[in-house]
Symmetry: C2
Subunit: 376 residues, 2 copies
């Protein structure tokens, strides 16, 4: 009853490392998939979105090439990949989903990819989360995976992603599995909720990818209380999401923005996102500068009003503003920022009961370097 994996090489990565991953589930499983909301989508996303009907048996993922911006040929290539897996392993073609990640605008060398699928099918081994993440990685600097066991309940997953990371999708490629049974209808709702609070609440650079996909797969081996499953899925998903931000291109530290006591959840989210995405806030965090003027300016720039004479702003536990400035607190905040690996910014709107947390990373010389020099 193991999940199996196979690995192949299609020569898509400049390093020549393995770039094709096949994941075979022990049986057809209930699943929910969320794809990028970008209107310029990878052909692999278009294909998988089209065939997915709530059930999945196998995943095939290539990295190093996004299969995106290559015209309708890309759709054919995705279909050929699924067909190949289905034939070799005797599966239903529509239960094989296809994912791609990497450079945009280069046609897939489909012959090489199909050969790599052949090799992957030749040697199937138990799923190794670390290895799976490594195979699908591109600019990632470390593999992203997590495992949680709570009594009989198991939740585990792997992911990749470091750049072109921004909400409104399951960010980049993330696959989370649970041994718990989740009914149709229930799994989609749980998945959407968790996605909003995890992958849709992180950003590296505000740039929405063409290929993002986030899958939640229920192996259906045990029955467990829904809240318990939901909490565990959220914990693993958040862990993967935070690893992606931590590995954000050029990032030296995480930024955690908490907006609390808002009148609406959407308002809390939009304001937290605005602060987390602000290039001025991101460079201030890189510079270890408690530049709270930039934080409140970002907080005020959404369509939602804030009362500037009432709100409270903390960096770490240092109160810097509460309708008036606290210049003396700046020194403590500066010292906090010098040592914190995760810089916490807390904005208390003092008006309601809703809150939201959003994660991003700082903006550094290295981000500019990576992205000015990474070629088409």
């Amino acid at each position: 009853m193991d999940i199996l994996m196979g690995v192949g090489r299609a020569g898509l990565k400049p390093s020549g490392r393995p770039d094709l991953l096949l994941v075979l589930l022990p049986q057809t499983c209930k699943a929910s998939f969320l794809f990028t909301r970008n209107h310029f989508k990878s052909a692999s996303v278009l294909y998988s979105q089209g065939v997915f009907g709530g059930r999945v048996r196998a995943l095939v993922v290539n990295s190093g090439n996004a299969n995106c911006g290559v015209g309708k040929e890309g759709l054919l290539h995705a279909e050929l990949m699924a067909k190949k897996v289905a034939e070799r392993l005797e599966l239903e073609e529509e239960e094989v989903l296809v994912f791609s990640t990497g450079v945009i605008g280069k046609p897939l060398p489909i012959g090489d990819v199909l050969s790599a699928i052949d090799s992957a099918c030749d040697l199937l081994e138990p799923l190794d989360l670390k290895r799976a993440s490594e195979v699908i990685s591109t600019t990632d600097s470390f593999p992203k995976y997590d495992f949680l066991k709570r009594g009989r309940l198991e939740v585990f997953g792997f992911a990749k992603g470091a750049g072109m990371i921004h909400p409104n999708m399951g960010t980049m490629l993330s696959f989370v599995f649970t041994n718990a049974e989740l009914e149709e209808g229930v799994i989609e709702r749980l998945h959407r909720d968790v996605n909003e609070r995890t992958f849709n609440s992180i950003s590296v650079d505000g740039c929405m990818s063409t290929n993002d996909s986030f899958g939640l797969i229920s192996l259906g081996l045990i029955r467990e209380e829904l809240q318990k499953v939901s909490d565990a899925v959220e914990e693993v998903s958040l862990s993967l999401a935070k690893k992606i931000v931590q590995d954000g291109e050029g990032a030296t530290r995480l930024i955690k923005v908490v907006v609390k006591n808002a009148s609406l959840q959407l308002k809390a989210k939009m304001i937290a996102q605005s602060v987390a995405l602000s290039n001025l806030v991101k460079t201030a965090v890189f510079g270890k500068d408690p530049n709270w003027g930039r934080i409140v300016a970002a907080a005020g720039s959404t369509p939602f009003p804030i009362d500037q004479f009432k709100i409270k702003l903390y960096v770490g536990n240092h109160l810097l503003y509460d309708g008036k400035t606290h210049l003396k607190a700046l020194e403590g905040a500066r010292k906090y920022m010098e040592r914190a690996q995760e810089v916490e910014i807390i904005l208390d709107l003092m008006e309601g009961k809703e809150s939201w947390t959003y994660y991003s990373s700082d903006l550094t010389y290295e981000y500019v370097k990576v992205n000015a020099e990474y070629s088409t």
Copy 2:
């Protein structure tokens, strides 16, 4: 019938340079003012927004201190500045508008500011656009002003701004004057239209300021055809707006994004803005890399659908994508980007007749340096 100016020093700039500007109009003029839509507003903006009633006689501007985030005391300070000018020059208090720009969160040393206003009133000279821009500048590296004479019609203005520049307001401080008569109702409409296509279509860093204000003042000396006035006001405003982007913190070149043949004007604007604001596009322009995948990914990330198999993308006049890739055109596009001081990106949606142009600047090491090291 000259516009006069006076200059003072309140010690608000670390350099010790003049930081207080007074502009005195020859008589009470019809005017339209647009202020930042940021909900965390400078007290000077709150004050001027409150007293402005369609007519203005004098402007008083301090730079080096934003009079923002300092509690209700800031409102009193703005009022004292207006009162001082009104008393010294025997004007109606509500016809004196107050503007501030600079660091957020430090109380104005109001005694010094009022003394500076005194000195400014002591020596009034004809308005010098270059000098006026210099006095109100903060991180600007050059003064921003322009003058246009078309027959009897004159339009001229000055501005400041280099960082915290993003649409949804008149960006930073810009004052445009015309000798033409503009009726109430007409001036506001013309002003809003021009603002949308000029200051609201530029961005340096996506960060909306707390202090932005853009004023259009009609001296009412001649009567001229409205379209002619409107064109001239737009030309001067766009010239000032482009100078602000050109002086964007750390910028080495301008990015001009043209979205054409869209079904809706709003759609054209949102897509142009999404491309112009993308950190990945901005770093690619810095790296002189025709990385068109990042451009189409940004174009696809707004709520408006695009047809990825139909759109055409040009960098300069090099067609890089039209439903399929043109890998051979990349070399020409790369050469174009190496020499262009203004990199033009044209996206043809092939679906309608609306278009929009949006300006931004590239994202460089210098941007990170300026903003990681500029302290609170």
